[in-house]
C-alpha cells in the first residue's frame, strides 16, 4: 500500500516538474519567435536601398526616377521638400517598388513648382528609411551641361543678374516690381542703376570680397574700330538700395572690412558706384541707340586662413548685354 502511495507521489511530482519545464520552454520559444520577427524587420530595414537617379527640371510637378537596388520591396510613403528660401513641406506618397525595379514618380498635385524654385527633397519609406537625390539642391530650370573648374560660377537663371533703377520714390528697393533681368536693358537715359550678380563660390573655405571688385562693360559700338569702356561700376554693399540725395542717387558704401562669401554658398554681389569705395551711382548714358556690351564681372578676394594672405583676382563671368536708352 505504501509503495502505491509513494509511487503516486513520485509520478505527481514528476508531472509537476515536467509541466513547469514544458511551460518554460513554450514561453521562451514564443519570446524567441517575437525577437526573430523583430530582427527580421531590422534586417529588412537595413537592406532597403533606393537611389533617386534622375530629377527632371523645368517641370510643374516634382518628377524623378527611383531605382530599388536593395533586397526588399519598398513602400514609399513620405515626401519632404525643402526650398532654398527655408520653407519646408511634407506630403504623402503611396508607391511600391520591387527589388531591381525602376519607376518614375510624379510628385503630388498639391506641390506645384515654379521655374525659379531651388529645392532639395527626401523620400521616406514605410520602414522608416530616408533617401535623397545625389545633388545637394535642384534648380527647377533646364541647366547647361558640362563643367569647368572655376572659383566662382554664375548660374544664368532668371534672377542671377538683375538691376534696379531710380524711380519716383526714394529709396528704390529690390521688390519684384522694381527689379528686372539685366541681360537686355531698355530704359531711359540718365537714370541711375544698381546691378547685382548672384555668384556661387566653389572654394572649400570662406572668401572675402574686396573693394576693388568691379563690373566692366566694354562695347565696340561706340567706336567701330576699337573696343571702348562704356561703364565701370564698383562693388557696393550687399543688399544695397538706391537712395536719392539732392539730384543724385547713391548706393550703400561697400564695407571697409569686405564682404564674406561662405564656402560653397551663393551670394549677391552689388555693383553701382562710379569709384572704388564710392557711393554715387552710375547712370545710363547715350541716347536711343542699341549698344552691345561684353560685361566682365571681376572680383578681387582673399581666402580665409590663407597663410600667404594672397589677394586673388577672378573674372566670375563674361556676360553678353544689350543696353538701349530710350530718350
Amino acid at each position: 500500500m505504501s509503495g502505491v502511495i509513494s509511487g503516486v507521489f513520485l509520478v505527481a511530482v514528476a508531472v509537476m516538474i515536467f509541466n513547469v519545464l514544458a511551460w518554460q520552454f513554450f514561453q521562451a520559444d514564443a519570446h524567441n519567435r517575437l525577437v526573430r520577427e523583430a530582427q527580421q524587420r531590422e534586417w529588412e530595414r537595413f537592406n532597403e536601398r533606393l537611389a533617386i537617379v534622375n530629377v527632371e527640371v523645368g517641370t510643374v510637378y516634382l518628377n524623378f526616377t527611383l531605382k530599388n537596388y536593395g533586397a526588399v520591396a519598398s513602400h514609399i510613403v513620405d515626401l519632404f521638400v525643402k526650398f532654398a528660401n527655408g520653407t519646408y513641406q511634407a506630403y504623402t506618397l503611396n508607391t511600391w517598388i520591387n527589388p531591381g525595379n525602376t519607376t518614375r514618380i510624379i510628385g503630388p498635385s498639391k506641390l506645384k513648382l515654379q521655374l525659379t524654385d531651388i529645392y532639395d527633397f527626401q523620400i521616406g519609406t514605410e520602414r522608416g528609411n530616408l533617401f535623397a537625390p545625389a545633388e545637394p539642391s535642384i534648380i527647377n530650370q533646364t541647366q547647361p551641361m558640362g563643367s569647368q573648374n572655376v572659383p566662382f560660377t554664375l548660374s544664368f537663371l532668371q534672377d542671377a543678374f538683375e538691376y534696379i533703377r531710380e524711380g519716383p520714390i526714394s529709396p528704390v528697393t529690390w521688390t519684384s516690381e522694381n527689379k528686372k533681368p539685366a541681360w537686355r536693358i531698355v530704359d531711359e537715359k540718365g537714370k541711375a542703376v544698381l546691378f547685382r550678380v548672384n555668384v556661387t563660390s566653389t572654394y572649400k573655405s570662406d572668401v572675402l570680397l574686396l573693394s576693388g571688385s568691379s563690373m566692366l562693360l566694354v562695347t565696340p559700338d561706340l567706336d567701330a574700330s576699337t573696343m571702348k569702356i562704356g561703364y565701370r561700376m564698383y562693388v557696393v554693399n550687399e543688399g544695397s538700395v538706391l537712395t536719392k540725395d539732392g539730384q543724385k542717387w547713391y548706393a550703400n558704401q561697400f564695407p571697409s572690412g569686405g564682404q564674406w562669401i561662405q564656402a560653397g554658398k551663393s551670394r549677391y554681389v552689388y555693383f553701382s558706384a562710379k569709384n572704388e569705395n564710392g557711393t554715387e551711382s552710375t547712370t545710363l548714358i547715350d541716347s536711343a541707340q542699341d549698344y552691345n556690351y561684353q560685361n566682365y564681372v571681376a572680383i578681387f578676394y582673399k581666402i580665409k586662413n590663407d597663410l600667404s594672405n594672397t589677394t586673388f583676382g577672378a573674372t566670375v563671368a563674361v556676360i553678353a548685354m544689350q543696353i538701349k536708352t530710350t530718350n
Binding site: 500500500m1 505504501s2 502511495i5 507521489f9 505527481a12 509537476m16 513547469v20 511551460w23 518554460q24 514561453q27 521562451a28 514564443a30 519570446h31 517575437l34 525577437v35 520577427e37 523583430a38 524587420r41 531590422e42 530595414r45 510613403v77 513620405d78 519632404f80 525643402k82 527655408g86 519646408y88 511634407a90 527626401q122 521616406g124 514605410e126 520602414r127 522608416g128 530616408l130
Partner: protein, 148 residues
C-alpha cells in the same frame, strides 16, 4: 477447556498504519497544494515578464526627419514613424538632454506604420548639432544627431 485470546496487538497495528497513511495523504495533499501555489505565482510572474519583453521586442520607432524651422519663434519639428508590429505610446522628447513639451499630449498613441510630427519651440543655432531622443512608454528609444 475454553481458549480466550487476550492479544489485541494485530488490530491496533492495522489501525495505526491506516491512520499514518491517512495522515501522510493529507500532508502530501497540503504540500502539493502549497507547491502548486508557489509554481502558479512563479508562472504568473514569468509570464508577465515574457509578455513585457515580447511587447518591447515588437515595438520599434524611428526618427524619420528633423526640420529646424525659422520664423517669429524658432522651432524644431521631429517626424517619428512607428516601424514596429504594434502600436506605441510616445511619452517624451529630448533635445540636447532636456525634455520638452511637444504639440501633442503625452502619452501619444502612434499606430503601426503611422507617423507624427512633434513640434517644439526651441532656439536652435545654425550649424549646431543636437542629440534628439524620442522615448516610448515601454522604454524603447529612437535617437539621432541632427545639425541645424
Amino acid at each position: 477447556m475454553t481458549y480466550v485470546s487476550t492479544s489485541k496487538k494485530g488490530i491496533s497495528t492495522l489501525v495505526a498504519t491506516i491512520l499514518m497513511i491517512n495522515t501522510a495523504i493529507v500532508m502530501g495533499a497540503v504540500m502539493i497544494a502549497w507547491a502548486m501555489g508557489l509554481i502558479g505565482t512563479y508562472q504568473g510572474g514569468t509570464q508577465i515578464q515574457y509578455m513585457l519583453m515580447g511587447e518591447r521586442a515588437q515595438e520599434a520607432i524611428v526618427i524619420e526627419h528633423v526640420w529646424f524651422m525659422t520664423g517669429p519663434s524658432k522651432s524644431i519639428i521631429v517626424f517619428v514613424r512607428n516601424v514596429g508590429a504594434r502600436e506605441t505610446d510616445l511619452v517624451s522628447l529630448y533635445v540636447g538632454g532636456s525634455s520638452y513639451a511637444a504639440n501633442v499630449t503625452w502619452p501619444y498613441t502612434l499606430p503601426t506604420s503611422n507617423k507624427v510630427a512633434l513640434q517644439i519651440t526651441y532656439n536652435w543655432a545654425y550649424g549646431t548639432s543636437y542629440l534628439i531622443v524620442v522615448a516610448t512608454k515601454r522604454g524603447n528609444q529612437a535617437r539621432g544627431e541632427w545639425t541645424a
